[in-house]
């Protein structure tokens, strides 16, 4: 088992079966975020912060669109049951310890988005020799880079004054989501012979 994608083909491309499994997972995760941001987005905005929901929705949609087009897809029978497990994990789960239900749901969405944007680093798995002109390679780099930017909205919200009274509940919900997303990501990678070892793996 390698710590990076590969072995690369002679053109420096990631093998199709790895592309397929990884892209399917990322499409599932970012697609779920896009759906949830779309549902949270009002037809007519009343507050300035809601503009960020619009940005998050379209950026998540862009990531999904990009992966759908940049991936070299190959048939993968396991995707059926894997997708069910992934989609189940993205279900809303209002954060415990926050009495206001709508706020608890917003925290849940933000923690899920934080976990997906912060703990999934697909570009870090590309070998140095990966072909920089390959669309999948470029897509993974773009997904990781954009995730770092999208993450800022979640950081601002979760660290914001509105949630200061619920700091412990927020931290607990966030750590739980991180562990859950990291575990799914680790399973996906192991299923295509890529091992991961990040500092937080031991907390499973």
């Amino acid at each position: 088992m390698s710590e990076l994608f590969g072995p690369l083909d002679p053109g420096g491309c990631v093998p199709s079966h790895q592309q397929t499994r990884v892209a399917a997972f990322l499409v599932s995760a970012h697609g779920a975020l896009a759906r949830r941001f779309a549902l949270a987005l009002p037809l007519r905005m009343e507050s300035a912060w809601q503009t960020e929901l619009n940005a998050q929705f379209y950026n998540e949609s862009e990531i999904v669109s990009l992966l759908l087009r940049a991936t070299s897809w190959t048939p993968d029978p396991a995707l059926g049951y894997l997708a069910v497990a992934w989609e189940t994990a993205w279900f809303p789960a209002p954060a415990q310890g926050i009495p206001d239900h709508s706020l608890a749901l917003a925290v849940d969405l933000a923690t899920l988005a934080h976990a997906v944007h912060a703990s999934i680093r697909p570009a870090a798995l590309l070998p140095l020799e990966a072909n920089a002109n390959d669309p999948f390679v470029m897509a993974l780099r773009r997904v990781e880079f954009e995730s770092g930017r999208l993450l800022q909205a979640q950081i601002l919200f979760l660290k914001g004054d509105n949630l200061r009274p619920f700091r412990d509940a927020v931290s607990a919900a966030l750590e739980r989501r991180h562990a859950e997303v990291r575990e799914l990501w680790r399973e996906v990678l192991q299923s295509v012979d890529v091992s991961t070892c990040d500092g937080n793996d031991g907390k499973r």
Binding site: H114, A124, L128, L151, I155, E175, K203
Partner: protein, 308 residues
């Protein structure tokens, strides 16, 4: 690979050298990781020291708290590591962010230390450093870890170090980019949002202290180290010739030699801080030279009238 437990978080550490020997504990800078001290492990172990290195919370292979990392937690993690070292003499050194954590530790647990070596360090955030810190954080947010590295590299090392690697910077940056996550680095940087100056507490540091400052360090310039020299009673300031902010990366042999020499002097009872100002030799093995009497060590040109 051993880990310490701080609450629900794990701290990755490494101990090298004989267990009964005096110990050096080395604390990473912001974007660093424990492996960057490899040359120090070798050099200090060869000089008879035990060496403890670790990844701070949020760094490398230690756990990365998702939302908040307080500097108090870093001090607590460091305390756990020092407790692992037994009762023998412990020398503590840290660079930049790690130097600040070392200062905090010395203020809180100075009685556990035999000596302290803050490097490229600061106890306050004056306007230039505050604005630079903000700009670096914005760089991280907008451009990711790689862009932060791009901003830091020219501040950290010299042209002589950069020139031969200029066409392979991606490989130079790769390990740092791999082990550091944007959110974790951001949490480390945002631990300064409620930063309170340590200046008033520096006087409580009673242990022998050697302050190291690169001659050309423009991220944390001389005046910030001067504050430490003035406030810490048993201290001296050593200027590293041609050194930039990360002289520990560029001059490991010289710096390790200075660390070992300082500890040897303290253990032999020879150390006298006297708030003196020294110039380090160009290479390991040379002698410290007193800063020329009558000249101001805070200036970049030879101006008479040293500020005492």
């Amino acid at each position: 690979m051993p880990f310490l437990a701080h609450g629900s978080y794990r701290i990755r550490y490494e101990l090298d050298g004989p267990s009964g020997a005096p110990a050096y504990v080395l604390v990473n800078g912001l974007t660093q990781y424990a492996e960057l001290w490899a040359a120090y492990r070798d050099a200090l172990v060869a000089r008879g020291f035990r060496v403890a290195t670790f990844d701070l919370l949020g760094q490398g292979e230690s756990d990365k708290p998702a939302l908040f990392i307080s500097q108090d937690d870093q001090v607590a993690a460091l305390h756990l590591l020092i407790q692992e070292l037994g009762d023998g003499p412990v020398f503590l050194s840290g660079i930049s962010f790690g130097g600040l954590i070392a200062l905090r530790y010395a203020i809180a647990h100075g009685d556990r230390l035999a000596g302290l070596v803050p490097m490229s360090c600061f106890a306050e955030l004056p306007p230039q450093l505050f604005l630079l810190g903000n700009a670096l954080r914005t760089g991280l947010i907008l451009g990711g870890t790689s862009y932060l590295q791009d901003l830091l590299l020219p501040m950290n090392v010299s042209d002589q170090w950069l020139a031969p690697v200029l066409d392979k910077l991606d490989s130079v940056k790769r390990q740092g980019w791999l082990v550091n996550d944007v959110y974790a680095l951001q949490n480390l940087m945002e631990s300064f949002l409620d930063f309170e100056p340590l200046t008033e507490q520096l006087g409580s540091i009673g242990v022998p202290t050697m302050i190291l400052n690169g001659e050309f360090d423009f991220l944390t310039p001389r005046a910030l180290h001067e504050m430490l020299r003035i406030q810490i009673p048993n201290s001296s300031l050593v200027i590293i010739p041609r050194g930039y902010h990360a002289f520990t990366l560029e001059k490991p042999a010289l710096t390790a030699d200075l660390l070992a020499g300082f500890a040897d002097d303290v253990l032999a009872g020879r150390w006298q801080g006297n708030k003196a100002v020294w110039i380090a030799p160009e290479d390991a093995g040379g002698d410290l030279t007193p800063f020329p009497a009558g000249y101001d060590h805070l200036r970049a040109i030879p101006v008479r009238g040293a500020s005492a």
